[in-house]
């Protein structure tokens, strides 16, 4: 019965997958191979690069100076991801379960900032967060703060900027997951004696988990390579991976070392993500539902 049904399905032309393969090979695999080639190349002077299997660049990375960059980038990105989740989850929950009218409009408002360049939005934050900027003036007038703000040029500004810039990427997967929430599940949990917190944790969160997993990945990965926010809001002086690797290419003219730094980040990310997905595998709404 099953086989006969399958037979009836029109065999889709295999070549339709072609463009996707070409795209992957030309724009993903090939550039990555170039990065790998450079990472193992030897550099002698500004422009003399010998390709081969040299380990100098990777060995240099072993220096605590550079290892700290990875550690700090990962920790800061994780903190910003958590902050994004803390802001995004209530927002998505509210949008998915409480808003009846104007939901499309409100969803649109979440994306509207994306229509403006990330550069301009980030720069706007730099102006808001100035020591005696608008934020200070308002909160000073309200008697909340006395001293001029000491936020711009610190990690605080970077986290604020990251949360703001990446929030939509967190909200949408959460919203999509929570939209599927069957209210009767929550009601049933309450009927069976669960208080509100317990009902949320046991009935709502399992439904939301695929969104949480996806949202965190969508936000965390690009954050580790973030360039604009640490440069403009962090004063370009924090231990953030993106600007430092950009320096290797544009200032130090050291392609091999820059490539080695990138390669190690890719590998480190793969490890972190694999561990992360493993942790969620088998849980309700874990890996399989997320991907």
């Amino acid at each position: 019965m099953r086989t006969r049904e399958r037979d009836r399905v029109v065999a889709e032309p295999v070549w339709l997958i072609g463009p996707a393969w070409v795209y992957d090979l030309v724009l993903l695999a090939a550039p990555l191979l170039i990065v790998v080639a450079y990472a193992f190349a030897d550099r002698d002077g500004f422009f003399t690069i010998t390709f081969g299997l040299y380990g100098d660049n990777l060995r240099r990375l072993w220096d605590p100076v550079y290892l700290r960059i990875y550690r700090d980038t990962f920790l800061s990105a994780a903190a910003a991801t958590a902050a994004c989740l803390a802001v995004g989850l209530p927002l998505a929950y509210w949008l998915a379960t409480r808003v009846r009218r104007h939901r499309t409009l409100l969803l649109l408002l979440v994306i509207v900032p994306f229509w403006t360049s990330i550069l301009i939005r980030t720069y706007a934050w730099a102006l808001l967060l100035r020591p005696r900027g608008p934020l200070y003036q308002v909160s000073h007038a309200l008697g909340i703060v006395e001293q001029p703000l000491n936020v711009l040029g610190t990690w605080k500004a970077v986290v604020i900027g990251l949360v703001y810039d990446y929030l939509p990427l967190m909200v949408f997967p959460l919203y999509v997951a929570l939209e599927r929430l069957d209210r009767s599940l929550v009601d049933a949990a309450k009927d069976l004696g669960a208080n509100r917190v317990r009902a949320f944790l046991r009935a709502t969160m399992p439904v939301a988990m695929p969104g949480v997993v996806t949202g965190c990945l969508l936000v965390f990965i690009p954050m580790t390579g973030e360039y604009v926010v640490p440069t403009f809001l962090g004063g370009g002086k924090g231990r953030w991976f993106g600007p430092i690797v950009a320096d290797q290419f544009l200032e130090a003219l050291n392609y091999p070392f820059g490539a080695a730094m990138s390669l190690v980040l890719v590998v480190a990310l793969l490890v972190v993500i694999a561990a992360y997905l493993r942790a969620f595998r088998g849980r309700p709404g874990g890996l399989d539902a997320a991907l």
């Binding site: 002077g45 550069l119 301009i120 100035r130 000491n150 370009g236 290797q248 544009l250 130090a252």
Partner: protein, 399 residues
């Protein structure tokens, strides 16, 4: 002192990023983007620059880029000139006048540092006809075959250049470059906020703690590490790893007091009073003066570097003839005077001062006294020295 409005400085920029950044610059205050410090944003979308470069019409090619020596003065002038320059480093009036005189269409693209320019050209970026590298970068690019050989017969106005600025070590016969202007790297501070009178690099480093969070330094290794070297009386061009290491340690010690490492933002930060002491290029502080009249530029007692920026033509320039014509045309005292009015940097052409706003022409931080000039050192651009600095720079940034 004259300070132009933002809108006056709006330029035509092919790359989308450049446009955004320009608009930002216009929106953000009285001064446009830093003269030499275009927002590093270009890095975010480097492809934009390449695309812009690729999409340009190549136009008539009258001479082979690699063999200009035959230099027929009758070579056909192209109708397009694509300029790749530091931001706010070419008076729009100059560009318009040239475009009108030669019926040329011009485009502008920006880079933020010599290293970026080298990296882009080395990486194969094409389409540019005119670039403005600093001396040491000319040497590196010429050695790498990235520059077009100039035909001096077609640049008769070379005779106007002050001989002091010709035949410099980075290009002994001026085969690849003509001096554009020159300046110094020092620091500026706001006297309204800083109690002490600052005169030296020693002051710069030792007051960082007192004025913590009010400091900025350039996002460029030779200049900033050079400051640490000069503080200890070392040469700007030292290749001694210990001396460079000492300079880097000094910088790391004050890093916590630095609000931003930036070549593009410090003018605005100072204008708003958010930064009080900034390591930067002399001309930039003149933009600050409009909002902060108490700004003072210091050529530190221990000495510092002077740099000579040049006009040069990339080896793969699609329109080298019109580019050479431009270089010749701009080397007149009148055109140079107008450039200084806009950039606040001293011209290398004799007699240009007479065609410049007198407040600028007589300012000792733009045209320093001869004995001050004698004490300055040029960045020689030794690859080994630069390598040492960029390694130290990564250490400083990662600290």
């Amino acid at each position: 002192m004259r300070v132009g409005s933002g809108s006056q400085r709006r330029k035509r920029i092919p790359a989308a990023v450049g446009e955004q950044a320009e608009r930002l610059g216009d929106a953000l205050g009285p001064s446009p983007l830093s003269r030499r410090g275009f927002l590093k944003a270009a890095v975010v979308l480097p492809a934009a620059g390449y695309l812009a470069a690729c999409s340009r019409d190549v136009g008539p090619r009258a001479a082979e880029p690699t063999s200009p020596a035959g230099g027929s003065t009758t070579a056909e002038l192209e109708s397009e000139l694509n300029i790749y320059n530091w931001a706010a480093y070419l008076n729009p009036a100059t560009r318009k006048a040239f475009a009108k005189a030669y019926d040329v269409e011009t485009t502008l693209d920006f880079y933020a540092s010599n290293e970026e320019l080298i990296a882009k050209l080395q990486g194969g970026a094409g389409g540019y006809d005119l670039v403005a590298p600093t001396g040491y970068a000319v040497q590196i690019m010429a050695d790498e075959g990235l520059l077009y050989e100039l035909d001096h017969e077609r640049i008769p106005n070379m005779a106007n250049v002050d001989p002091r600025f010709l035949g410099l070590a980075f290009d002994p016969e001026n085969r690849y470059s003509m001096p554009k202007d020159w300046g110094t790297t020092g620091f500026g501070y706001l006297q309204d906020f800083v109690e002490e009178e600052m005169t030296s690099w020693e002051d710069f480093f030792s007051l960082a703690e007192k004025y913590s969070g009010k400091y900025t330094v350039l996002d460029s290794s030779p200049e900033v590490i050079g400051a640490g070297l000069k503080r200890h009386g070392y040469s700007y061009n030292t290749t001694d790893p210990d001396e460079v290491g000492q300079a880097v340690d000094d910088l790391i010690a004050i890093k916590q007091h630095i609000a931003a490492i930036t070549s593009s933002e410090y003018r605005q930060m100072m204008s708003r009073g958010d930064a009080w002491v900034s390591l930067g290029w002399n001309g930039d502080f003149f933009y600050v003066a409009a909002d902060q009249p108490s700004v003072k530029y210091v050529i530190p007692e221990e000495g510092t570097e002077y740099w000579v920026d040049t006009w040069a033509i990339p080896a793969n320039a699609p329109h080298p003839n019109i580019a050479m014509e431009f270089i010749d045309w701009v080397l007149t005292p009148e055109n140079q005077g107008r450039e200084t009015d806009y950039t606040y940097y001293a011209s290398a052409v004799s007699g240009a001062q007479e065609h410049t706003d007198q407040a600028i022409a007589t300012d000792p931080s733009i045209y320093p006294a001869p004995e001050v000039i004698d004490a300055l050192e040029a960045n020689e651009g030794d690859p080994e020295a630069l390598d040492l600095r960029s390694e130290g720079w990564t250490t400083f940034k990662s600290a």
